[in-house]
């Protein structure tokens, strides 16, 4: 059932991914940096917010005028900063939403990834009050509406003795203290919790993508600046407590739930919000996912080189003092609660080389459900009955319809857990032992690696920039990476295969 939901979701996500894949290289595709983009938008919000804070006056009588000064008198800087503050805040709601949807439909929230998923939910609960309290501070008609509706929502919670909403009914009962509280929450309280929450969200990951590529950062900032210049954010009329608010220019990113407060009741809105949060929180275990086997360390072949620790995307491998009495100081140890059996540690292990002939292929670390020895044997078996000309050995990171399609299109296919599951010597093994004329790595499309860093590590190993490096004798023109240009520009695995074969024939494959 849940797999069906994931599958339908992936289909819907494709509708967005496909056009964006045509517009962007995988390195520049915003869909591959949704979390990092969200953090980047937070930076824009923070820096623009600091400028606004310098000129903002925290009181009922002066707040509106100070924002008006920024918007109109200081339009060239304060106005732009205000618009940036507003639009970056809105944009990050889009990236958060897409981030959540993407992680869900690609099933990256269950098993040992539950922690990142669950710690993301409080972040959403912080982001919305942060944005909503910002609207409050402007103290225009929209702020009055937000203040009254928020107070109605909070009044439903039986922890306040007096009605908070009643404070916004007439000028004589409205005090600056509410502004002080809101300013504290918006400027200090919530941002501090948010920073801590983001750290908690990513700290278990190895090499989390905190920042998007520089070019993407520049494009994003330019996009926000152009929007700010063309359509600057402005206030409504100053809040008048004697009048009700009508015809509000509504920020649906943050305030979408507010009309429901009037249409339903605060109680039902709380039920909706808490219900969604509870559903999201229990999602990793509903239904429970089948636990995969985890990586296993073989001390006879582990020399404590630490490469597996460096490459594990989930921080599941650590170095511990040696236990077998050998002269090495440390050995690898796998944390079962973090390992998701992606095999990237195997690809990082210098002993996972298929050229070993004196002893059985048992690397220092291996995944039992797809061992290095199995992969080597599979390569040898596949090579005995070559399909197509020139002969292409395809390594695919999953066994799905796309893999089946490329098999039917005439290629020998060997499945691995992740592209970086392959130690680069396997590529050398295929080519130098003449098991194929070329190697096509059919990794996750658009660099959208299911195990986060697989494509990055494999690219770096092939480029001989990261250990274990591809041997110099290996002709990289015979290695194709499906997620990189020019192959990434071609849709469909069969057409990628054709293009790669054509390049091999011309003697100009790519890597």
């Amino acid at each position: 059932m849940i797999e069906r939901v994931h599958s339908l979701g992936r289909g819907a996500f494709e509708l967005l991914r496909r056009p964006l894949s045509r517009a962007f290289d995988s390195e520049q595709n915003p869909l591959n940096y949704l979390g990092a983009l969200t953090i980047y938008f937070c930076w824009i919000v923070l820096i623009s917010g600091i400028w606004l804070l310098i000129f903002f006056r925290t009181s009922v009588s002066t707040a509106f005028e100070s924002v008006e000064y920024l918007t109109h008198e200081q339009w060239y800087l304060g106005g732009v900063m205000r618009s940036l503050h507003r639009y970056a805040s809105d944009a990050l709601i889009i990236t958060i939403l897409l981030h959540v949807i993407k992680e869900f439909v690609f099933n990256r929230y269950r098993l040992n990834r539950w922690f990142n998923w669950v710690t993301g939910i409080p972040l959403v609960w912080m982001i919305f009050p942060l944005g909503i309290s910002g609207y409050w501070l402007v103290w225009d008609e929209l702020a009055l509406y937000v203040a009254i509706s928020s107070a109605e929502l909070l009044d439903w919670v039986p922890i306040f003795t007096d009605s908070m909403a009643g404070n916004f009914m007439s000028d004589d009962v409205l005090s600056d203290r509410f502004f002080t509280l809101m300013a504290f929450l918006h400027l200090i309280g919530l941002p501090i919790f948010l920073v801590f929450g983001i750290w908690l969200h990513v700290f278990r990951l190895n090499g989390p993508r905190i920042n998007p590529p520089r070019r993407m950062m520049a494009a994003t900032l330019l996009c926000m600046l152009v929007l700010s210049a063309i359509y600057p954010a402005v206030s409504h009329e100053k809040a008048d407590l004697a009048m009700t608010t009508q015809g509000l220019r509504f920020d649906w990113f943050y305030l979408h739930v507010y009309p429901l407060i009037q249409a339903w009741s605060p109680g039902w809105v709380w039920t909706l919000l808490v219900g969604i949060s509870v559903l999201l929180t229990i999602a990793p275990w509903a239904p429970p996912a089948r636990k995969t086997t985890v990586a296993v360390v073989d001390l006879d072949n582990c020399n404590g080189c630490k490469r597996c620790v460096d490459d594990c995307p989930f921080g599941a491998v650590e170095m511990v003092p040696r236990t077998d009495g050998t002269s090495y100081s440390h050995q690898a140890a796998v944390d079962e609660s973090l390992c998701i059996s992606c095999g990237i540690c195997v690809g990082a292990c210098p002993t996972a080389t298929p050229f070993r002939s004196r002893s059985a292929l048992v690397p220092g670390i291996d995944v039992p459900n797809r061992s290095a020895a199995d992969i080597r044997q599979d390569i040898i078996d596949q090579a005995e009955s070559p399909a197509g000309e020139p002969r292409v050995m395809v390594f695919a990171c999953r066994d799905d319809r796309q893999t089946e399609a490329i098999r039917k299109a005439g290629a020998n296919v060997v499945t691995v857990r992740c592209m970086a599951h392959l130690q680069p010597s396997f590529l050398d093994f295929v080519l130098s032992r003449n098991h194929a004329d070329g190697v096509l790595l059919l990794g996750c499309e658009d660099g959208n690696c299911n195990y986060r860093l697989g494509a990055d590590w494999m690219e770096a190993r092939i480029a001989r920039e990261r250990d274990p490096r591809l041997r110099k004798r290996t002709d990289t023109s015979k290695i194709g990476m499906a997620w990189k240009t020019p192959l990434s520009d071609i849709s469909g695995p069969a057409r990628k295969l054709d293009a790669f074969r054509e390049a091999l024939r011309r003697g100009e494959g790519e890597a």
């Binding site: 517009a23 009605s163 608010t245 507010y258």
Partner: protein, 163 residues
């Protein structure tokens, strides 16, 4: 060509952000309508009479606890009713706050009304009697479109204020 596609993609993103941050407009009330807001906090009368303690009873108490009278903590709920002419706009019985039901009762309600002249009546009962009101006010109010008419209970004058 690729650059153009990128520009278009970012442009569409900006349009989505720009549009959804202000549109569609939200109308909380129709242009011809207004709001009457009832908001006050008021403690109902105690459910029982206070009793004066005898000197003998006072002597039994520690010196710092010798209050001359003893009152039950629990208070009556506050009943409130707002009418425009014969139309009841809001009627409720508000429980006292606090786990001992000894706190104030909070009234808060916003009612959408058509603009125009209204004969507003507000009544409140805090003594627990079933009929009639302990406090009531009637006023003829010309409510303009978009107005927020606020009705509060002034504790000093023990009367309703229609602002």
């Amino acid at each position: 060509m690729k650059l153009l596609r990128e520009v278009i993609a970012w442009g569409l993103f900006a349009v989505v952000v720009g549009v959804l941050s202000v549109w569609p407009r939200y109308e909380m009330v129709d242009a011809d309508d207004a709001i009457v807001s009832v908001t006050f906090s008021h403690a109902g009368k105690r459910v029982g009479e206070c009793r004066t303690l005898s000197q003998e009873e006072l002597n039994k108490l520690p010196p710092n606890m010798r209050k001359p009278s003893e009152c039950p903590r629990e208070r009556h709920p506050v009943r409130v009713e707002l009418r425009s002419g014969n139309d009841v706009l809001y009627a409720d019985q508000l429980a006292p706050s606090g786990i001992w039901s000894d706190g104030k009762a909070n009234a808060y309600r916003r009612v959408v009304v058509q603009s125009g002249i209204h004969e507003l009546f507000i009544g409140m009962n805090d003594s627990g009697k079933e009929n009639g009101f302990d406090y009531e006010t009637t006023a003829r109010v010309d409510i303009v479109p978009g107005r927020n008419v606020v009705i509060r209970f002034d504790q000093q004058s023990q009367n309703f204020l229609i602002l």
